[in-house]
């Protein structure tokens, strides 16, 4: 049990842009925190606000230290705002919250507890959309997206990657944040968090999800179809930046699909986004107008298809805008071939020595990848993956239970392990080859 004197000081940093009412809700939620009010400060960074945000903040009486750092002039983006907040923060721990996120009372405490388990940790708290029940197709799509983002992270053997860093409810040591250089402010309002995730993983940080650091996300108040598609466009541009800065990640970015389009539709969308943008934009606008009637007619399948197609189009438009020409795109996609994660970084593990031993070895060596054997039989690979955390012992059983189940069973049968312990034989296993 941690006593109050062991508890670290926390700086909560909230970048905001013209969302005064939403921000007020976040501040109210911070007033309800179970964490001692004397131990945390809140830094709000209004970024080019033209509404009453600054006045509201000046009039707000909070039970904790509330500091306001106004970024004047035009909107500089959340990355710059967060960096500015972090630069003025005095806490040992930085907790970044978005202005449309309402943290539940134990959030700060949950982040602090998670950090107490292990040093050099990046702790994510789930912030799931509040919209529930029967809502529009777009809301439903977003709700599932967020839930599916956080749910796998809670599974014990989940292998975290850079795109798991979501900046709406995340905490890390101030020292670590400074060491990796903070957010990259040149990013256009999208995926700046992913890019920070890349550098954090490279710096050896571990990611984790603290399920009790739960927050409610009022995304629906500020996001509509137009905004979602605009965001797709920004994400396209941001991904090009990520690829330029970390070329080894290019194959993991959705834009790498440009190289080998799957199906005729994708080919057409690619061509429209890269070469015939005038026509493409008109078709996209038409398609967007069709979404409403499709929803009215309850054609969910068609809506989903059209929506993902539109998203894909605008994403590629963003990519094409950032790269300029088709030649530049080809060069960009080629570049990654030279900087794949070398397979030589994988270690070899003999599972016949015992699962616990194998797990312990993974935990100790933290390799990029592993080749799994059972005596002389190859069971399979846990490949080195660009932009993902290094392997841990916890990653072993999930992959053996799912992807490698068949080859692992076969190896066990061929080595006679099954025969000794079980009433069935390798013959019966081969008989039932997985359909």
């Amino acid at each position: 049990m941690t006593t109050p004197s062991d508890l670290p000081s926390v700086s909560v940093i909230i970048p905001t842009h013209n969302r005064s009412a939403s921000l007020r809700r976040t501040l109210h939620a911070l007033c309800m925190q179970t964490y001692p009010h004397a131990l945390f400060e809140v830094l709000v960074v209004p970024d080019g606000c033209s509404d009453d945000t600054v006045n509201m903040l000046q009039a707000y009486s909070a039970p904790f230290a509330l500091r306001v750092i106004v970024l004047a002039g035009h909107n500089q983006g959340p990355a710059a705002a967060r960096n500015r907040g972090a630069a003025s923060a005095s806490g040992a721990l930085l907790l970044f919250l978005d202005d449309d996120v309402e943290p539940k009372p134990p959030v700060i405490m949950a982040h602090v507890r998670a950090h107490a388990q292990q040093p050099c940790l990046v702790v994510m708290g789930p912030y799931v959309p509040v919209v529930q029940g029967r809502v529009s197709y777009l809301r439903r799509f977003m709700r599932t997206w967020w839930q599916d983002k956080f749910h796998p992270m809670r599974q014990p053997g989940y292998r975290f990657g850079y795109s798991d860093l979501l900046s709406g409810n995340v905490s890390l040591q101030a020292e670590l944040f400074d060491r990796v250089g903070g957010f990259d402010p040149t990013f256009p309002c999208a995926h700046e968090d992913y890019e920070l995730g890349v550098r954090l993983l490279k710096a050896g940080a571990s990611f984790t999800l603290a399920p009790d650091a739960l927050a409610a996300h009022y995304e629906h108040e500020h996001t509509d179809l137009n905004r979602t598609l605009q965001r797709q466009c920004l994400e396209g541009g941001a991904d090009v930046r990520i690829g330029r800065r970390h070329p080894e990640l290019t194959p993991t970015l959705p834009l790498s699909r440009l190289q080998e389009p799957r199906g005729g539709m994708q080919r057409i969308v690619n061509a429209l986004a890269c070469e015939h943008q005038g026509l493409g934009d008109r078709l996209a606008a038409l398609c967007q107008r069709l979404l409403g009637p499709l929803e009215k007619m309850h054609c969910h399948g068609m809506w989903h298809w059209a929506y993902t197609g539109l998203g894909h189009y605008w994403y590629l438009r963003g990519v094409a805008e950032a790269l300029g020409s088709r030649q530049a795109l080809a060069a960009f996609l080629q570049a990654d071939l030279h900087c794949l994660v070398p397979d030589g970084l994988a270690i070899e593990i003999d599972l016949a020595e015992g699962l616990e031993e194998a797990e312990a070895r993974l935990d100790q060596e933290r390799p990029y990848g592993a080749r799994l054997y059972y005596r002389q039989h190859l069971v399979g690979h846990m490949p080195p993956r660009a932009g993902a955390e290094r392997l841990r012992g916890a990653h072993l059983r999930p992959i053996l239970a799912t992807e490698l189940a068949w080859s692992f069973l076969l190896a066990l049968a061929l080595e006679g392990t099954l025969d000794r312990s079980q009433p069935f034989t390798q013959g019966s296993l081969l008989l039932h080859e997985r359909s």
Partner: protein
């Protein structure tokens, strides 16, 4: 001749099974360390099944789910997988109407569930005697609720409102859940998008022809592989293969999110069934998920007489089409046309044709005709049940 239903553990396959003189075959549920992994049908010769034959049949039929179960056990996978899971607590609800003997068997089975703090609730629906109350009173852990308005969906809604826990696991009164039933259902509520979980239902007995035909014609068994149903990948209106109300658990929040069960559907009304599958459709079309979990095993006593069976099959036909009628009229779902048409023209009518040509007076013909009759009257039954409900509510 009848079929004997056997429940056999793979690691304790008997050398020989004897004393089955009344039976001509055996339906065997195969388990691996308690988990259902497959089923096999084995002939009974002179009242016995030889060990070698049993073994062969079992290995033949078990397939991948047996291997998977073995491997998961070897890896202690369940323990690992659920290490961080936050599982909800449950209320087990039995909705019953004038079947005291069945309720007794069901409660007896529920007494064998490991105690994880679950609440047990019997909703006695419009009873004509006090017999059910009398039986429930002999079980001090079980709460008794009397619902005067008739209808299975009325009783289900009452159970959802009365329940004190987050998930309500429904079992019919004519079913007997297995020991691991509730835990297996609850495991799947780890995902917040999952609103409903259904389980595997096996026949409790196959003593009469009607029961054998029930199992053959309209089994509750949906296989031994876990499946996740999602509105984006499955047509929400084709909900029949997800499972049935006899063995399902639902998050109580559906009441607020999607509304209660439609009280114009299911047993006790003119529609006679369909309340469960209509709820499945609603859950899927709202973008939530349903999981079919074969480890959540329950045993169902099928109808014993032909009359009951035929009536039940007609009821299924009515219920399915009544539920689609509701989806069209109330939810304005147009996706119901495709399964409704394909079921009628690609399943029911060809089946009827085959029956006419091969066995004009046979059993399949009789049952198919009964079901088809139900399909035709389904939409009108729904409208009439709705009118009746409105009249009663005035």
């Amino acid at each position: 001749m009848a079929t004997v239903v056997l429940d056999i553990e793979f690691e304790q396959l008997p050398q020989e099974i004897t004393g089955l003189d009344r039976y001509h075959q055996a339906l065997i549920l195969l388990r691996f360390r308690g988990r259902p992994v497959g089923q096999a049908t084995v002939p009974v010769v002179h009242g016995r099944i030889a060990g070698a034959e049993l073994r062969e049949a079992v290995l033949e039929s078990a397939g991948w789910s047996l291997w998977e179960a073995w491997l998961h056990d070897f890896l202690e996978w369940d323990k690992v997988r659920l290490a961080n899971a936050v599982l909800p607590t449950a209320t087990v609800a039995i909705c019953t109407r004038d079947r005291p003997q069945d309720v007794r068997r069901c409660l007896e089975a529920l007494m064998h569930l490991p105690d994880d703090g679950q609440e047990l609730l019997v909703v006695d629906n419009c009873p004509s005697t006090e017999a059910t109350r009398g039986i429930v009173e002999t079980y001090p852990r079980v709460r008794y609720v009397r619902e005067e308005r008739p209808g299975l969906d009325v009783a289900r809604n009452r159970a959802l409102r009365e329940a004190s826990h987050e998930v309500v696991a429904f079992t019919d009164d004519d079913a007997a859940p297995d020991q691991g039933w509730l835990r297996a259902l609850l495991r799947n509520f780890d995902d917040p998008c999952v609103l409903c979980v259904t389980g595997l239902t096996m026949p409790l007995e196959l003593e009469t022809d009607a029961q054998e035909w029930h199992e053959r014609y309209s089994t509750f068994n949906r296989g031994f592989q876990r499946r996740v149903f999602d509105g984006t990948r499955h047509n929400p209106m084709a909900a029949g293969h997800i499972g049935a109300g006899v063995n399902m658990a639902i998050r109580r929040s559906v009441l607020d999110l999607l509304g209660p069960f439609d009280e114009a559907l299911d047993a006790g009304t003119r529609t006679r069934s369909g309340g469960d599958s209509e709820m499945f459709s609603r859950i899927l079309s709202a973008g939530y998920r349903i999981v079919y979990e074969p480890h959540a095993l329950s045993w169902h006593r099928h109808r014993r007489t032909w009359r009951e069976l035929r009536r039940m099959i007609t009821g299924y036909g009515i219920g399915v089409y009544a539920a689609w009628t509701r989806s069209l009229l109330i939810e304005h779902e147009t996706a119901m046309w495709r399964p409704a048409m394909s079921w009628l023209f690609c399943t029911q009518l060809p089946r009827l044709m085959r029956a006419i040509f091969w066995q004009p007076c046979g059993v399949t013909f009789d049952l198919t005709l009964a079901e088809l009759r139900g399909c035709m009257t389904g939409p009108w039954a729904y409208l009439s049940a709705r009118r009746q409900l409105q009249k009663r509510n005035i």
